[in-house]
Amino acid sequence: MNRVQRWATARRTAGRSGWRGTDALFRGAIGGLGLVGVGVVAHRIDLVLIGAPLLLGTIAALAVPTGPVPAPKLERLPAAVESGDRTKAAITVAAGPGVEYLAIRLPSPDHTAIGPVHLLPGSATTIRAALRWNAWGEGVDLRPDHLAASRDALLINGPVVGAESRRTVLPPITPLAPGPLPPRASGLVGAHRARRPGDGVELRAVRPFQPGDRLRRIDWRVTLRAGAATGEPLAVPHVRERHAEVDADLVLVLDSLVDVGADLGEWSTAAAGVAVRPGGSLDRAVRSAASLAAGYLRQGDRVGLVDLGRPQLSVPPGVGHRQLVRVRHQLVACTRTAGWATRPVLLPKQIPRGAVVVFLSPFLDDATVTAATATARRHLVIAVDTLPAPLLADPSTPWGEVVRLVVAGEHRARRNALRANGVAVVDSADAVASALRRVRS
């Protein structure tokens, strides 16, 4: 920007700051005064009468001082909300008595995003606007651009671009029944039966007492029966040994390389106005991942997240509600950069030993299938196919149906390849539990 442009920008900004007259002021003052003046000079009372309301209205409007420049202040709202939540955003405005109108951009029940401009009475000190978050993801939901106007809109202040209020809407959770997972070798507590003895409830064996056994583990009935059988009433005591119950590791692998819907004609274009295509493969994958994470974390298992597109966005396995919040935030972060990676990256060190891996992908490229089958050599892998079905051909081209058949055929071949390599393929997150039961049995 050279000096002339800087000077012009500064002049423009200075001209827009503070109160300034509008065309209505010019019309009321100059037009009204001119008509009255011409009427008096030309001895025409009718011209005076036509111009008088404009002049009188302008004088009446300018009689009240506008006061200081009103600055709307937005009440703080939470940075992260649940999908489906609703609240009312409160905006406080301190305007002088001469401010009759406040034009402010606020959300409206009929509009999405930041909403239209509303012309409101300037006397309102607190303005409340209903907010509802339907779709998960990151975005701006409030930007109170505003303009204040005096009586009859003769003087205005603004327009001023408001500060953006960004929020993260966490992906929704659908209640899912968790399935059986292989126990973690180093696990201490959990819901899965381990092979080694421990403090669980399931009987492992009844055996003679050994040094180190707890006395309360002694089964006196068995001890007495053993004594009766051998003829010694106080024979070697026997103890009931139980299996240990430990937690398990579950790693969710999110394929953020592609985001496609059912309509093949829209695969090459980005969805308008949204970061993630509603009902598309990434939307389904994120919803499934959030639901699976919630189900297994509630059970006490350790859940981690791996982004196939960007390994640095992965979350190591952890437990508890904080881990669930972390995973849901990270799912939103993964979708921010979705579609930019060219090939999947899945390093062995990202998956702990003995962990179950759930691949959430539409399986549209061979590299993802290769990554899944390579992982299946070391881990139990379940593939959740997130490709929307049935696929719709592009009606704008005569080759649309042919393309649909080719894509569907390739996709079917990839699913068969996964199954052939020992990967269970399911169509939704609901079926993961039953697939685990089937595989574990």
């Binding site: 503070g18 109160w19 509008t22 065309d23 209505a24 010019f26 019309r27 009321g28 003052a29 037009g31 005064l33 008509l35 008096v40 000079v41 025409r44 009372i45 009718d46 011209l47 009468l49 036509i50 008088a52 309301p53 404009l54 002049l55 009188l56 209205g57 004088i59 009446a60 300018l62 009689a63 001082p65 009759e100 109108y101 034009a103 606020l106 409206s108 029940p109 009929d110 239209p116 401009v117 509303h118 012309l119 409101l120 009475p121 006397s123 309102a124 000190t125 607190t126 303005i127 409340r128 606007a129 209903a130 303009l147 106007a149 009586r151 009859d152 809109a153 003769l154 003087l155 205005i156």
Partner: protein
Amino acid sequence: MSALEVGRGRSAWWLRGAAGGACAGIVLDLALSGVSTVMLAVAALLSLAAVLLPASPAPLVLICTAALLLTLDGGDPLRPAVLVLIPLVHALHLACALAGLLPGGARFDPAAVRPTLRRAAAVQAVALGFAAVAAVVPITRTPEPVELIALLSIAGLALLVIVARQRRR
């Protein structure tokens, strides 16, 4: 007013519709007064410009054109065509002032325009009061001192507007 719930409101097109209604009334008033077709076409074009561009000089040009076309023919100064033009001109002025504030797709709360409508009704009452007074006052040649006082009064009003505007800054 302390707290306000933002609802759906009304579309800002209603304000442009009000401006269009006032423009249509002015053009009809001119047509019934026997204004030439060329001038009627000019007024219609100015009306269209005023509705589409309310924050432009078009409304002022339309107001001045209509006032001059109706008054310069030398007819009765208090005939119905002139009396009808007084509220129409004021309505056009206010509708364009409010419509010029809002961008496309905007909404307005009807409660916001009530103070303006109340003040406009009061101003119209005063203007029609002037007309009533003018109707009963005998029409004779104005003495020169009175005419001088009237001109000075206009200059005073102009000064008042300028001072009031300077005080705002």
